[in-house]
Symmetry: C2
């Protein structure tokens, strides 16, 4: 009995992957169990075996994707070097990793589409996404910027705001591509990240590095 777990597990994964694909492509109501079964190379009954009904399957898929996305997110977050002597390059490379592996990959696309289209119908979905899923990417990034600000590398008042703006800037060039399902090329990711980081640093590095002391400049910052 013990080893059948393997087979079961393989089926489960196969079903979850196929379901994620189909739900993402067709939305919840547009997706049919038969379609998922075919894509997963599994009989329909097997799906009803593991997940009582369509709704249960959908919830399981969302949890699965969120867990994976969450793990990937923190794995990426930890890759920012403790000390960086080329802030722009390090931030750019970091932004590329973030977009490539979290924001613009299949899981990111799934969550963006599904939270958007089904978030109102499943409020708990949105809540989970915000608290346990990639929704907290903002606060996590905020912690990173707090570190950088503490070291004097950046000059930031509101860390969470800076994090939101950083993400927004990185997405600025990618939205057109990701909005209708496309996947950005490496060049596009690189360019988007570079644009975003340059603007971000211009806004938050300020004259600290090269000009007079900061105190009277407060008027500029407002």
């Amino acid at each position: 009995m013990g080893h059948t777990q393997r087979g079961q597990c393989a089926k489960r994964i196969s079903i979850l992957d196929a379901a994620a694909e189909v739900f993402c492509r067709e939305g919840f109501s547009g997706a049919s169990i038969d379609e998922i079964a075919v894509e997963a190379c599994v009989s329909r009954q097997t799906i009803y075996n593991h997940y009582r009904e369509k709704e249960t399957l959908f919830t399981a898929v969302v949890e699965d994707v969120m867990d994976r996305a969450n793990a990937m997110l923190f794995s990426i977050l930890s890759t920012f070097p403790d000390k960086s002597d080329h802030l722009e390059d390090d931030l750019t490379a970091f932004a590329v990793r973030l977009t490539k592996n979290c924001l613009c990959n299949q899981d990111g696309k799934f969550l963006r589409k599904l939270v958007q289209s089904e978030g109102e119908r499943y409020p708990h979905l949105f809540e989970t996404w915000r608290q346990h899923g990639p929704g907290k990417i903002g606060t996590a990034l905020g912690a990173l910027f707090a570190r950088l600000s503490h070291k004097g590398v950046l000059r930031i008042d509101d860390f969470d705001l800076a994090a939101r703006q950083f993400l927004a800037l990185v997405n600025a060039d990618l939205q057109m591509i990701t909005l209708f399902g496309g996947t950005p090329t490496d060049e596009e990711l690189e360019s988007a990240a570079r644009n975003a980081v340059q603007t971000f640093i211009r806004a938050y590095a300020g004259p600290a590095s090269e000009t007079a002391p900061r105190t009277p400049a407060l008027a500029v910052v407002g």
Copy 2:
């Protein structure tokens, strides 16, 4: 005969409005003609009378919303003052108008959700949105920033990039709210706009790049 146009027109509008509401809430496959008929206070046959089938209705709704959103967009764009002595305040007020009337209203929500969820299944929808609809908000804003840059008020290399970043920054604080269907309050709009504009100006008012010559414009902006 001539005056029946009025009645017909009223029905059409009623149907389009109700359909937009339901399509937005339920998605294309989730929306049922009966539901739309009830919401429009119209019999189902009347809908099939005006629009041959569900698909036709959907297309008509999208065109209708896009036309309205487009008109509103250009109406708002023209409100930016020709000469502004308080750039931050003027940009902020402008951003508030833009979000309130274009990005975060019912039409904006509809387009965001529908282009996202049905854009892959209706490529022409996405194309129309990008070329004739609010998708060109970017280039329109780019023209505005080109003007500001020419006047020396801002220092911008790539106008379209600046426009994308401006929009992204404005959305940074609103995404969490709009993502699951909420409508931001006036205070939230105001705060989001202020945060965005301050960062935008810090990035684009100062010396363009590290080695660029400096102008006294910095003081004027603050």
